[in-house]
Symmetry: C2
DNA sequence: CGATGCTTTGAGGGATATCAAGAGGGGTGG
DNA sequence: CCACCCCTCTTGATATCCCTCAAAGCATCG
């Protein structure tokens, strides 16, 4: 397993060039580890946190709480992701961040330490900035997905994104990756009712391209799945390969 | 009418503190003006532009083009907005930017000039960064809006956001502001069919709280409209007031 | 082994999409 | 100056996808 620093740097270097001194500076930033349980909030909606976190193990999600307590999941985050980087320069968080699975681990960095490094090593700041910009692209894709596609294509597209990102984070083994969410959460992500999630899932299973059960996502036919989803990974801005 | 520099700075100063020297540096960046017609693309999906733009007059939108040519509008931008700031640090644009109305005017800045200023005046970079982060918050709100609300609340929420941002940009006069889009575009924003747009609009008109016609948005009863929409402007991160 | 939470299936209803066509308004050309 | 066309808005009728309500399987756990 990678160290905290390796996990973080692998992600940043997927899209940004860092000189040895940039890398060394980032490696030098102190942090502490925090383990969180399933459905436990790491940061609450409306918080003004003095720290930000990087996912090290397990998975983490962001969500809005709407009137009436209804929940809308916004994004999911794997090892190396930085789900609340924006709090570095932003007063109040408009959403919460929670852990999904048992034993998720995040690294906690003090904003002041990060800001000090960014001031001396601008490339570090730019790399983090890019993280937040890729975030933006993922959100835009989610708008289109949840607005312009039917339940089937919508779910397929979501599975494609998760699987693609997991494979880039070396988290795919034997054509499957962890996706520790319940069907109800899938519904709160895609904006469809639980019953429809279950039926859409069954329909997708029957295509033989994908299966999702017991918190694992299994892709049997990537070509077929991307065709159903009209998935093009361009927006994720990974370097080719 | 404000100058290009005043327009830009008013927007940045709504959320960021800039010292006189930061402000002076930003004022010194050269730019050119570009006038664009309705539905004309300013930047195309997939472009790698060496410039970014600030809206000066009129309105501008971002959109995805999906398979089959279907269009999904992602966001709308008023005077002072910076709809493609992310191209400063990002290779390829995942969406297009287009003008909405006749005679829209944007200021065009060379990336290299902006980067030079940001390198010497970090506060300028941070202010632009914040712009992109607020963008992110707006996108997140759109995900929730288009996923978790019915057509009526969804449209009301969209109107609330546009009206609120327009009022902060001093673009509201006599309870109304320009929103130069067609009903079909409203549908491509909210993810609902044109016929439903028309009927939902009629239903909202009948509440007496809002009217949208001929490219103008008129709000007669802000309290009632925000109640229908469950609108809370917190996510837009304007300073209080 | 009952309780609890998640998944699965059935039935029916409602919101929204699709199909179709007329009305209104502005521009253009004969 | 009128006729025509095109674009957008509006309204009606019908279809369908998805939601709500309801309840039964199935696993895990105390």
């Amino acid at each position: 397993m990678l160290s905290v620093q390796d996990t973080l740097l692998r992600k940043l270097k997927a899209h940004s060039l860092l000189a040895p001194e940039d890398e060394a500076a980032l490696r030098g930033v102190s942090h502490r580890l925090r383990e969180v349980g399933p459905d436990e909030d790491i940061v609450g909606q409306g918080d003004v946190p003095p720290v930000s976190i990087v996912v090290i193990e397990g998975e983490v999600a962001r969500y809005h709480t709407l009137y009436g307590g209804k929940r809308q999941y916004l994004s999911f985050h794997l090892a190396g992701d930085w789900p609340d980087a924006q709090t570095l320069f932003f007063a109040r968080l408009d959403h919460a961040v929670c852990a999904l699975n048992e034993g998720a681990v995040v690294a906690v960095f003090q904003h002041e330490h990060l800001r000090a490094v960014m001031a001396r090593f601008p490339a570090v700041g730019q790399a983090i900035w890019r993280e937040t910009l890729i975030d933006g692209a993922i959100f835009r894709a989610a708008i289109s997905n949840n607005s312009a596609r039917n339940a089937r294509a919508r779910m397929a597209h979501f599975f494609c994104e998760i699987f693609f990102r997991a494979s880039r984070a070396a988290l795919v083994h034997e054509q499957s990756t962890a996706l520790p969410i319940r069907q109800s959460q899938l519904g709160e992500t895609l904006g469809i009712a639980l019953v429809t999630v279950n039926r859409t899932l069954r329909a997708l299973r029957r295509t033989g391209s994908v299966d999702f059960r017991d918190g694992r996502l299994r892709v049997m036919d990537w070509q077929a799945l991307t065709a159903i989803a009209e998935f093009d990974p361009e927006y994720l801005n990974y370097r080719a390969g």
